[in-house]
Symmetry: C2
Subunit: 181 residues, 2 copies
């Protein structure tokens, strides 16, 4: 039943590419203004050759302190993280960092909408999981429970998003249906 939804399947695009295309669609059609944040980098050494652009010669990837995507839709603040797994049976919580969860909790406290977009890569299924549900499973882990969310739990408590052509992953439509705020 779930596999029926993959009529426009991923065809080798990454989740990030699909979401960037989706966000571009939203911006172009004045539906929402949501961007992926740049990757945080620690710059150590920059070269300034005369007459040409500055070249970063040494830099390091830093751990993100927030989520990957944010913006505004219909007067509401939107903030989410996107993650993929190759597992078929569960989604490992090691994909998230403590400070990302803390950030998402702060967003909820300020009246923003936060969620995660989860992709099961081998079956090419996409789910939206609301922040409060993610927090529940995170707490379960913190209290000594399992370090992942079972796929059954995601099917039960999350919301599958079928692939589309334009936009490819219509998460705003899902948020609208769910009336999250």
């Amino acid at each position: 039943k779930l596999n029926k939804q993959n009529s426009y399947s991923n065809r080798g695009m990454t989740l990030e590419e699909d979401l960037n295309e989706t966000n571009l669609y939203y911006r172009t059609h004045n539906i929402a203004v949501i961007h992926k944040k740049p990757i945080p980098i620690q710059i150590v050494n920059v070269d300034y050759p005369s007459r040409s652009a500055a070249v970063i010669k040494e830099a390091y990837f830093r751990q993100a302190s927030t989520t990957d995507y944010n913006g505004v839709w219909n007067g509401k603040y939107i903030d989410f993280e996107a993650k993929e797994t190759r597992s078929n049976s569960s989604f490992p919580l090691s994909n998230f960092h403590e400070h990302q969860i803390e950030h998402m909790k702060s967003v909820v406290q300020q009246g923003g909408i936060t969620f995660v977009i989860l992709r099961f890569a081998t079956t090419d299924e996409i789910f939206l999981l609301e922040g409060k549900i993610l927090f529940f499973y995170w707490e379960r882990m913190m209290n000594g429970g399992r370090k992942s969310i079972k796929k059954d739990e995601i099917i039960q408590n999350g919301h599958q998003i079928p692939y589309g052509l334009h936009p490819r992953i219509d998460y705003i439509k899902k948020i609208q249906e769910l009336n999250l705020l």
Copy 2:
């Protein structure tokens, strides 16, 4: 009269440092969740030495397609840019890019709050200028008018923010006073 406001003057901190400190204060006190976005970088070459962190060996600065800061306050989406000038008489509009203005207009269209924080470096004065006011002067330039906003116009149509100790630049208080939405 304006100079009286500088009782806690900048003491050599940059506008970015002051705003980062302000945002940290807001997050710590659960007032707002606002971050500076990472600098956009085009990564060309990365080295992966065994047993140590990946090193970016060649990368370039890209032009930002949005503004520097965004987040959520009190259920509202906040989006702004911060700029400094050494001029005493006006604020050059060359500090902004067309796509930043377009981004800010889209934010307004989606019901978000957008503005710029302007600093006159030599007198250490800070002003908040609402998006709609910035758009007005941008259009004036586009229609062949002056390429800057006169300081008198900023005093008239903007809102000075006095330096504080904690937070250093309390722009949320100003937004609250102005009741921007």
